[in-house]
Each structure stands twice: as structure tokens, then as C-alpha cells.
Symmetry: C2
Subunit: 199 residues, 2 copies
């Protein structure tokens, strides 16, 4: 019912996460109504995306191809003695948005998930240990900012044990009620955490 | 916090409908993990999208650049005496999916919306009238498949009046209960329609 070039783009877009065939079709029709210059623009940033970026050599956040370190690691105003461990690059965004964190990051690139056969060897854990050894100034605190799930907790426990010999302070994000949530619908685990962390 | 090429793509993608900055960021990270050949592919279909498509000269559905008529208008097995009026190209998809409609279409390209200053002159109404005059074989029925909204009904009434001189049968999609809906939550208008169209 549609020409093949449209079908091809719909099927390409449907492969993307969170975009089903219906949303893809709507996107294509939207693109058809945009100026060619805008399509050229979008097309070229997609094409050069990979060749223009790489991972930061220190924290594995994204960085420009010609820069060894990401904007955060390069920022001399940040507290270089605090490192926040995150699962992936996306998790950096909300932490930065709080405006309360001024240290550096370390992106693990996943979580340990024995159920899915995802062991610790694929994560940037060796690199973290190496980083702790050579860091100048010495790292004083590692904050575990992993998801409050079995995988997140398993990963935190595993890495905490590895860090013990370094005698570095470790901490985890506090657990309790989400702002704006309704007490009636909160699960017992969250409520237990909220009771334990009451002030 | 991200390199500028990433920020550029996130901002380009955020301009698309139904993609906010968060979904755009997730898309970009997903694209970074795909092969360059896949990015080249996506990039090139976006670039050539407009130059490879045009509107069908008969029904204003999408068609290939080198084809004057869309796949549906070209399909000789379809009933050429029935024309289904739709607001836009997207509305063709669910109608085709029913498997019950075998006629042709006419894409209006919008609805009359006096509140938004959208008058009938921007819609393909003149083209519909012209089509009815010259169609061979003669068109026997025009089905109005417009949204059951004030705009849809206004447009249907406006065009029905224009079609009167042609003495062509006109019909509208039946109104009633949506399959799977809960009677408790149905508005009175729908329920009235359901009562009136009871079998």
C-alpha cells in the first residue's frame, strides 16, 4: 500500500527501541513534510555518529573522536576524589541534573546478571580497579548509583568486596519514598527502606 | 556532558513527533551500538526519502517518484467504483488491515476545522469533484471514513452537500461500541449511536 522506499524506512525505523511500526509510519510521514535540508542534516549526523565519538579513556562516558577524555573528566572544577559508579551513560544525565553531584563517573557498561549469563568480566571493573590504583589525587569515595534491583545490588556487593583492600569509603544511593508517590501504593521493600532511613 | 555530535543528534531527533529528549538520548545510544553499515543504510533512506516519493495523481496516497499512481490505484483487482475518503495517508493502513475494503481511496490531506482557521480550500476536495466527473467506470459510492469528531463530521457534511448533484451513494462508517470496551465507561454519544445502529 506504500511505495518501497517508504516501506524500507518504516522497517528501518521499526528496528529502533521503543518505535513500533505505527510510530515509525507516523515518523516517516512527518519526515516527508520537512525540508530536504533538514533531512540532509539528520541523515549526516546519523552517518557520522560513530566515527565522531568514542569512549572516554578514564570513565567510559562518550567523548569526541579527537578527545581522549569526556567533558566531565576534562572539567578541572570537578571533585576528582569522588567517583560515581553507574550502569550506563544514560544514568549520568539525571545525576547531573540534580546539580548536587560534582565528582567524576565510572560507567560499568552493564550489571552482573547471573540469570542472563552476564558475568562481571564484561563490565569495566578491571578498569575501575586500575583507575583507583593510579588516580592522582587518590580517590576518596566511590558512590554506587546502580538500580535498586537484584542485578544492581549483586553488582554493588561484588564490586564493594573488590574495593575493600583499597580502604576507600563506599556509599550507595539512599532508598525511600519517591517524591510525589502515593503511600497507599508503595511496596513493602520501599517502605522498609523508608523506615530505616527516616530522619 | 556529552560530545557535541551526540548533542546535535539528540536535538535533531527530539524535533521528531513523539520523541522527547529522553527517548532521543536512548535512541542515540542504541545507534552507537549498531554497525556502521546499518547507520549508513538508515542515513541514506532518510536522505532520499523525499526525492524517491511523491503523491499519487489520483488519490494523493504516497507513490514512487517514477510512478504517477500509487500501488492501490494501480491494482486492477480492486473495485474502482468505490472510493473511501480519508483524512491522511495513515488512515489507509487500518482500513487495509481489516481485509474488508477493496475499493480505492481519496486522501483529503486534513479536515475542516473552523476553530483552527483550516477551511476546505486546503483539502483535496476540488480534486475529488474533478475525479468524480472524469472517473471511468463511474464511481458508485463514496464512503466517508473520517474521525468521529466535530472536525470530521463538519468535513463530511460539507463534502456530502457538494456531492449531492452527482447522485452518488454516500455512506459513513458505522458508530457504536468499540470491540473490547467496557460498557461502564462509554460516553452517552457513543451509547446513543450504538442504540441507533443496533441490529
Amino acid at each position: 500500500m506504500f511505495p518501497s522506499s517508504i516501506k524500507k524506512l518504516i522497517s528501518e525505523l521499526s528496528k529502533l527501541p521503543e518505535i513500533g511500526p505505527r510510530a515509525a509510519t507516523r515518523l516517516v510521514l512527518h519526515l516527508l513534510n520537512r525540508d530536504q535540508s533538514e533531512l540532509d542534516n539528520l541523515s549526516s549526523v546519523i552517518k557520522t555518529l560513530k566515527s565522531e565519538t568514542q569512549l572516554c579513556q578514564q570513565c567510559f562516558n562518550l567523548t569526541e573522536k579527537d578527545q581522549n577524555f569526556c567533558p566531565i573528566c576534562q572539567d578541572l572544577k570537578r571533585d576528582r576524589q569522588t567517583v560515581c559508579l553507574v550502569e550506563n551513560v544514560l544514568n549520568i544525565i539525571p545525576l547531573e541534573k540534580t546539580g548536587y553531584y560534582h565528582g567524576l563517573y565510572h560507567v560499568l557498561g552493564g550489571l552482573i546478571s547471573p540469570g542472563n549469563g552476564a558475568g562481571p568480566e564484561k563490565l569495566k571493573i578491571k578498569e575501575l580497579i586500575e583507575r583507583l590504583k593510579v588516580a592522582e589525587p587518590k580517590i576518596a569515595e566511590v558512590i554506587f548509583a546502580l538500580s535498586p534491583t537484584t542485578e544492581g545490588d549483586t553488582t554493588t556487593l561484588y564490586i564493594e568486596r573488590l574495593l575493600r583492600p583499597f580502604k576507600i569509603k563506599t556509599s550507595r544511593l539512599g532508598r525511600g519514598l519517591s517524591v510525589g508517590s502515593d503511600l497507599e501504593y508503595i511496596d513493602e521493600n520501599t517502605l522498609t527502606n523508608a523506615l530505616l532511613s527516616r530522619k
